[in-house]
């Protein structure tokens, strides 16, 4: 109560003063009324002012009151120099906002623990070895049977949980006409129980629901239940079709749980045993999460699980009769690691950890540049305030009181900047997430703004205040009244500090420009890499059928689409190029053993080459009667790799897995990108769309992509028409996904574009801030040296000499800063090398460009100050001093 009223009194100081004054006055009046001599009574009472101060201090929190006074004073000072304050606050706001946004993203994707019972005990298994393509690879996918073996072995030490990669799939609650997309995940039935989750409605899956033979059930996520069903409780007991299965909805998960795939919010959970390849030993659809029991050491557990995994793979490798021996050995020698997964485990984390860290570092550098700017500003102001400070010291202000005064001003700037920055971060973080949106699959990252973000922003604001405020504050407070009031303080010490800050600023700025340049060059080179086909006007219709259909029916659909007005050509393919799908196999030539490297495959219909505009350089395209096994068309790299570039028409080879299948080359085409923009050109063989199974019967197909080249410039104008047309031609056919080829190509460079764009933006900000900083310091030094310059001009110094005098110090600082920047850049850029494509930190161009931009900015920034210096009128200056 008392403390509260004392705090409250700080903000009612005026009333408090009035009342105290009145009371003291009434005391003296009373004394006089009682017959005391007025002068004597006043003298006996002592100094009214002191009485008031002492009484007042009893009524309020004194330090808070001084803080309030400083805050008011600081606010007035800020408003007095509106332009400089606004510049300082805005530049800092941008930097703080960017830092907060970066933290928000990093926190949401990588740091924030899943909201489950014991996230700190959650681990994920992964394997590290050499991939089939000979490059180091790590992956975290496992076959269902081996997870079951490992789970049985871990028994009382840990619970193992299978979670499939999420998939965006077609499902329906009614007839097939109302197919819709949903994010699915197959998870072990016991996952919900192990995570300590409680249903928002109905019940959650248990281990019993995940036993083979159990009735298929589904659990909806809270988010999906709200979006799709408007939280209708009657959803329990409804059924949903997915693929050829029918599931009963048994419950809704808690609001806090969005799945373990950070960056994707799962809509529907199915039991792991329902996964189409749940029990296959040669398919690895699951991540393995390990919930370690309390007190169980992790390393022995890892060894135990690794031993089981190895035994499983060794058993399986006995079946690999037709595979290079070295491959089998390296495959069996994969190391198995167990890592913390408190924040979940997802591909988005893997793909964006490094880019986010790199961006985080860039924005931190921008923040430092902004801080250096404000520090320089305050140091320059401190000169102007030297007299004020000296006066304060003379009338008895303590050193710490002055430090407080300047720090409170800094805090004003920082707090205002943080408030604007918060608004910026509020907008910027979701904006960045929206940018991560390959077609139909935007990243869905929960971005809560809670105490974690608030704590970070507050700590940042406090840190920033001290970062740019402390040195100017200490300097201002160390003022020596005698020399300052005489007006002759050593100005060089201030300038030295400002110069050091300039050097630091330039170094950071160079670093930002340098890294941004590398990212931009990466994006440029990647997006301009020849793809080997024409993506113009290509529309891709991912088409599925309820039951597998004969190739003749697929051809019928393609034929009928050709007749649609506005359609130029139509072809069929197993999947689109650059979609991320791939199929590979080891080859055998002339009946020999399997050879390296891997070859890649895609089934295509006749006319596919023409539709894609991939030039045929030898032989012929497929004919309507071509079938696999039989004819094959290969690309140039395939010929170079397996036939030494000789004429390959008529030559044949075998695929070796799962059995030997022969093919004879009938055509050779130019190279094109297969499944990634970054990949080295792969040896690719195109197989006929029609294929026979092992018995020699034509094999029906459940899904393929219909590729349409449209006549009109924008292929999407035909999208809805074609989507409707397909089921009209044959009712079993349905377009499940529709995008343009260009979207797939853009999706390949989403990460690079994001990095390039943001890095470029921050580079521009950094350059602008550094330029402003440079301008400020030069301007200050000209003002400081007016007298000196005036004298020099008066005794005949040429303008060029004056210009050199003014700029030489600063430019040597710029040079020093740039050199430091180069050194740091060279040393640090290696950590993000994997994000680059065909650019090297040591490229002269990569260094020259930031250097030139910096130099240009420095020249531009110094121009006004130089002009001002040269125009100084000696007579005026000397007279006024």
């Amino acid at each position: 109560m008392s403390l509260w009223s004392r705090i409250a009194n700080v903000f009612h100081a005026d009333r408090l003063h009035r009342e105290i004054d009145e009371e003291l006055q009434s005391h003296i009046d009373e004394a006089i009324e009682q017959g005391r001599d007025p002068a004597e009574a006043r003298r006996a009472f002592g100094s009214l002012l002191r009485q008031r101060e002492e009484t007042r201090d009893m009524r309020l929190v004194a330090w808070l009151d001084s803080l309030r006074a400083d805050a008011i004073f600081g606010w007035r000072r800020l408003r007095k120099s509106k332009v400089t304050s606004a510049a300082a606050i805005l530049s800092l706001a941008l930097a703080i906002g960017a830092c907060t946004a970066a933290f928000r993203l990093i926190d949401a994707l990588l740091l924030r623990p899943l909201r489950i019972a014991h996230p700190e005990r959650l681990y994920a298994l992964s394997r590290h070895g050499v991939g089939l393509d000979g490059k180091p690879s790590s992956y975290d996918s496992w076959a269902g049977p081996v997870v079951h073996l490992m789970r049985a072995a871990a028994n009382d030490q840990a619970e193992l949980i299978e979670v499939s990669y999420w998939e965006r799939s077609d499902l329906t609650y009614g007839s097939d006409e109302e197919m819709e997309k949903g994010y699915l995940q197959y998870v072990s039935g016991w996952m919900f129980g192990s995570f300590g989750l409680r249903p928002a409605l109905g019940r959650l899956m248990t281990g019993d629901d995940d036993k083979s033979g159990a009735r298929p059930v589904a659990v909806l996520s809270y988010d999906y239940w709200s979006r799709r069903f408007a939280r209708d409780p009657k959803v329990i007991g409804r059924t949903l079709h997915q693929g050829s299965n029918l599931y009963e909805i048994i419950g809704v998960g808690p609001e806090s749980f969005t799945g373990t795939e950070t960056g994707t919010m799962v809509d529907v959970f199915f039991p792991a045993m329902m996964h189409p390849s749940a029990n296959r030993k040669d398919s690895t659809p699951f991540r393995t999460l390990v919930l370690v029991n309390p007190g169980v050491p992790v390393e022995p557990l890892r060894q135990k699980l690794a031993a089981i995994s190895r035994a499983f793979e060794e058993e399986r490798a006995k079946g690999f009769t037709d595979m290079p021996k070295a491959k089998i050995a390296s495959y069996l020698n994969e190391a198995i690691s167990i890592d913390r997964a408190a924040a979940g485990s997802s591909n988005l984390q893997k793909d964006y950890m490094q880019p986010l860290m790199a961006l985080g570092t860039l924005v931190a550098l921008v923040l430092l540049i902004a801080c250096a700017n404000v520090a320089n500003l305050m140091t320059a102001q401190a000169t102007a305030r030297a007299r004020e400070m000296a006066l304060r010291v003379s009338i008895g202000a303590g050193r710490w009181r002055l430090v407080q005064l300047v720090l409170v001003e800094s805090a004003w700037i920082a707090i205002l900047a943080a408030a604007i920055g918060a608004a910026f971060a509020w907008w910027a973080a979701p904006f960045v997430v929206r940018m991560i949106n390959p077609p139909d699959n935007p990243a869905r990252l929960a971005l809560p703004a809670d105490w974690r973000i608030l704590a970070f922003a507050s700590a940042l604001t406090l840190g920033v205040t001290f970062l740019f405020g402390l040195v100017p504050a200490l300097r201002a407070s160390s003022v020596k009244p005698a020399s300052a009031l005489k007006g002759g303080e050593d100005p060089h010490s201030r300038r030295r500090l400002m110069h050091a800050l300039i050097a630091a600023q330039v170094a950071f700025c160079f670093l930002v420009l340098f890294v941004a340049g590398l990212f931009v060059a990466t994006f440029e080179r990647l997006s301009h890499r020849p793809i080997g086909f024409s993506a113009d006007r290509l529309l891709l219709l991912d088409t599925v059928t309820a039951h597998a259909q004969q190739p003749a029916y697929w051809n019928e659909v393609a034929d009928r689409l050709r007749a649609v007005p506005g359609v130029e050509t139509v072809a069929l393919a197993g999947w689109p190029l650059l979609s991320g799908y791939q199929s590979n196999n080891f080859l055998s030539l002339n009946g020999g053993p399997p050879i390296e490297p891997l070859a890649f495959f895609l089934n295509v219909s006749p006319g596919w080459l023409e539709t894609m505009k991939i030039p045929l350089i030898d032989g012929r395209d497929f004919r309507a009667d071509d079938v696999d096994p039989g004819a094959v068309i290969v690309n140039e790299t395939f010929v170079k790799t397996f036939f030494n570039g000789e004429n390959a028409i008529g030559k044949s080879f075998y695929r070796t897995y799962p059995r030997r299948i022969p093919s004879t080359i009938v055509g050779v085409v130019r190279d094109s990108r297969y499944n990634g923009m970054r990949e080295r050109t792969k040896p690719v063989a195109y197989l006929p769309f029609r294929r026979n199974d092992a018995k020699g019967d034509l094999q029906p197909t459940r899904s393929a992509t219909i590729i349409v080249r449209t006549a009109g410039a924008n292929p999407l104008t035909l999208a809805s028409l074609l989507r409707r047309e397909v089921p009209r031609i044959r009712s079993e056919f349905r377009v499940s996904n529709l995008h343009t080829q260009q979207e797939l190509i853009d999706a390949q460079t989403v990460r690079e574009r994001l990095l390039a764009m943001l890095a470029l933006f921050f580079a521009a900000v950094a350059l602008l801030l550094a330029g402003i900083g440079l301008y400020g310091v030069l301007n200050y030094s000209v003002v400081q040296r007016r007298r000196e310059i005036g004298i020099r001009l008066a005794i005949g110094a040429p303008a060029s000499g004056i210009a050199r005098l003014v700029t030489v110090d600063v430019f040597s600082m710029v040079l020093a800063g740039a050199l430091i920047g180069v050194a740091i850049g060279m040393a640090s850029v290696r950590t993000v090398e994997t994000l680059f494509y065909q650019v090297k930190a040591t490229d002269a161009g990569m260094l020259l460009l930031p250097a030139l931009s910096l130099f240009a900015a420095a020249v531009l920034a110094s121009l006004p100050a130089v002009l001002q210096a040269v125009r100084i009128d000696p007579v005026n200056t000397l007279r006024s001093e």
């Binding site: 008392s2 009371e23 009893m58």
Partner: protein, 109 residues
């Protein structure tokens, strides 16, 4: 504040006692009363009275209100609160203990 320390103990108990005898006194009256009751021996320094009164009000021992005097001027008068009465009892007994202890020392040595 350290300059009050020596006096504070006795000033507090004196002010509280006066207010228990003569509630609703203003500052000048309290000061005069101290002088009067102590037979002109004790005199509260005028300078320390008001900080002490305000401190005691913040502590919740006394409460104040403004009244209009006959002369038309406003005056701030003080009275004890329940907490103040308790405090007075404590201070009184502490004072007695201390003075009797001091007396004992003075007698025996």
């Amino acid at each position: 504040m350290s300059k009050f320390d020596a006096l504070q103990g006795s000033l507090d108990v004196l002010v509280l006692k006066i207010l228990s005898r003569r509630p609703k006194s203003h500052g000048y009256a309290i000061m005069s009363a101290i002088k009067e009751f102590s037979g002109e021996i004790l005199s509260a320094e005028e300078g320390s009275l008001y900080p002490a009164l305000h401190r005691m009000e913040e502590a919740g021992w006394v409460r104040s209100q403004w009244i209009k005097k006959d002369s038309g001027r406003r005056a701030r008068i003080y009275e004890l609160t329940a907490a103040g009465k308790k405090q007075l009892a404590q201070e009184e007994s502490r004072w007695q203990t201390v003075t009797s202890a001091v007396n004992r020392v003075l007698r025996t040595v």
